[in-house]
Amino acid sequence: MIAVSCVIALGTISLAVLLNLYRLAVGPDVLDRVLALDTLVINAIALIVVIGIWYDTTMYFEAALLFAMVGFLSTVAFCRYLLRGNVIE
């Protein structure tokens, strides 16, 4: 049952990633694209977690943690760059 729900979750998250990629390509403003990238990172973390359950290994969680940190830092750096013109003043 867990395997079946993992497959369903992988399909649903892949659809979500496609919707994010649509917003990333279409988005009228730069901030829409930043928001789409942030959501894309969260979806990637969910994919990593589901694949970790699927393969019965805890090895992928360090990758998920690193993804979370890099995603947050890139979002904040993008916003600071758009607001102030540079990242570190």
Binding site: M1, S5, T12, I13, N20, L35, T39, A46, A64, L82
Partner: protein, 135 residues
Amino acid sequence: MGWFGEVLVSALILIGAFFLFVGSFGLAKLPDMMRRLHAPTKSTTLGIGSMLIASMFYFFFFFGDPSVHELLITLFLFLTAPVSAHMIAKAHILRHQRTRDELSSTGRPVGWATLDSALPRKNPRPRHTATKGQS
């Protein structure tokens, strides 16, 4: 314990996938930037939290070792999602004049905190105190 853990983990995985899909669908569907900000930052955070709890229960029920990595990821994501949403909203308000004009008044002598340092003041403070706190 076996079937209970299986049902619990499967339900949590499906709930998490549903909320992740709802967040991304709202990101693609909603018409305005400020309305578009709601869907990913709330629904997606709930979905990823449910997914990480499912993973924690899975490794606790079937392998017997409760792992702490999921708790770390959950804590980090739940701390950083409001911060990044606030940064994006602030950047959106400050970048667009029309959004800035549509803001209602705060009803207090002080204006909006986001705009207070960006717009010229009525009584400007000395320059070194006005820019000291922002780094």
